[in-house]
Amino acid sequence: MQKILNKRIILTILVLGLLYGSIQNLIVQGKLNPYYEINLLLIGINIMMAVSLNLINGFTGQFSIGHAGFMAVGAYTSAVLTVKLQQPFPLAILAGSLAAALIGFLIGLPTLRLKGDYLAIATLGFGEIIKVVFVNIEYVGGASGLSGIPHITTWNWVFFLTAFTVVFIKNFINSTHGRACISIREDEIAAETMGINTTKYKVMAFTIGAFFAGAAGALYAHYFYIIQPNTFNFLKSIDYLVMVVLGGMGSITGSVLAATALTIISALLQRFAEIRMVIYALLLIVIMLFRPQGLMGNKEFSLSILERLGRGEKHGSVSSK
């Protein structure tokens, strides 16, 4: 058991290292033009957002549609720290994430008593409230936004924080705490009678999800020089929801895949900004018709598949867990 796990960890590190090394190489040699770099960073940030939202929506089964609100909290908090208070970037990221987590905790405590559609509407409302609050604070620029944010976010920051997010949430899910969250999704009453404090775990999932959304927001703010309340509106939340649903509720690799694919698609569609949302909607309808469980369902794509393929076994396209 221990041996197999170690082999997996080594393989994962190897693949991640290869990915990092090859892209880092391209950047250092200057072969990657800025257009590709922007999208590469956006992919990372979107993966962080999608995976953290999946923890709330897909694994814990609490339908939240205000995720961009937490991103806004992270973005504004970190930007205020670097722009107004001249604090170092790492501290700003941490503070942004913690602020988002705190807001997530405070919002989660009352709203997670609600179920299904009621919870969705409540989170939608809170997402909008967060946006409106920033519009009305002159200190952070009001509706015109906060500008002059230093351009500190690099490929390195995005890569390592994305990897950290994915590993953190994957490890969380594969622990007794993660299983507690999943059992709430499966049957809340049964979970409660198996000794699981459902409120605690719902709030925990919500807080962790908000934490990483805050981190993603901090990275976002320090790449694009300016942040405006309107960047983090309802449509932004829907974007991330689409990624989670498309990738599969309850599949981390599905979210990674969908976030990557949708970022690339929306980059390609940039010239047709008007019809981007139409194509998005069509894509969703087609997916829901032909694969309602999302690309990956609740399965994970893992390296053991490659292993099996290597040994020439033909069964199993995806392995569970």
Binding site: T176, H177, A180, I189, A191, E192, M194, G195
Partner: protein, 257 residues
């Protein structure tokens, strides 16, 4: 001293009193049946005992502690586990994970060691998996540990639910119609299994059942509920010959016997 002592338990839904003035006492190691016609309030009693509903009136003493007002998970942590009439498994999870979740309250590693894979994470996870497979073995489900729970046949889902409840290490086990939907052969096996786990795990068991062969064959004492009130209480022999019970419930079956 009684493990469970319920006094004057009453639950009113709007104008309807589903359970009224319900009294029951269970002693350690007993296997007790709760029977009654459909709608008599049996499942409501279970929901009151496990904290799913809060009683309108009355007290519930479990292990010398008043548990009225506690949340279901707090009651489970104090040593009470149950199964459901309409099976409530974690249906999209594997058979093994269903049982592993029941160990949740006994896991000691915290959030940090889970996420960083430090400390006792691997050791406790392995231990938990080993114990869960042991339980599945008792219920003859170990070969199906990787199957998705909802794909199991009905009888196996019932057995899995009992295995899951047992894994929570209860002192009192509440079984809500464990034999529902089983054929006579399966019911007979289940009856022996219930007696066996009672002795093996030193449990006290309260079970709701419609299958009279199971209730009469397994239980030492029986409570009969009708319209939310206990109308009789005694050994299977006494219940069989109690005219009020015959009138309310057993009527024909006993008359022919």
């Amino acid at each position: 001293m009684a493990l469970l002592a319920v006094n004057n338990l009453t639950k009113v839904f709007g104008g309807l009193s589903a359970v009224s003035d319900f009294n029951i006492e269970l002693h350690p190691g007993e296997l007790v049946g709760l029977i009654g016609p459909n709608g008599a309030g049996k499942t409501t009693v279970f929901n009151l005992l496990t904290g799913v509903y809060e009683p309108t009136e009355g007290t519930i003493q479990f292990n010398h502690e008043n548990i009225v007002g506690l949340k279901p998970y707090e009651i489970t942590q104090r040593g009470m586990a149950r199964t459901f009439q309409n099976i409530r498994l974690f249906s999209n999870l594997s058979v093994l994970d269903n049982v592993r979740i029941a160990y949740h309250t006994h896991v000691k590693y915290g959030l940090t060691s889970a996420v960083m894979r430090l400390g006792n994470y691997y050791k406790e996870e392995e231990e938990m998996t080993r114990k869960a497979i042991e339980f599945l073995h008792i219920f003859n489900l170990d070969r199906k540990k990787d199957e998705i729970a909802k794909n199991l046949p009905y009888g196996e889902q019932r057995r899995l639910e009992i295995a899951r409840a047992l894994a929570a290490k209860p002192r009192l086990l509440l079984l809500d119609e464990p034999a529902a939907g089983m054929n006579p052969q399966e019911t007979h096996e289940l009856m022996n299994l219930i007696k066996w786990i009672r002795d093996e795990f030193k449990l006290t068991i309260l079970l709701i059942e419609h299958d009279m062969s199971l209730v009469m064959g397994a239980c030492e004492r029986i409570y009969v509920l009708e319209y939310g009130m206990i109308i009789a209480h005694g050994t299977p022999e006494e219940i069989k010959s109690n005219p009020r019970v015959i009138e309310a419930y057993l009527g024909e079956e006993v008359a022919h016997a």
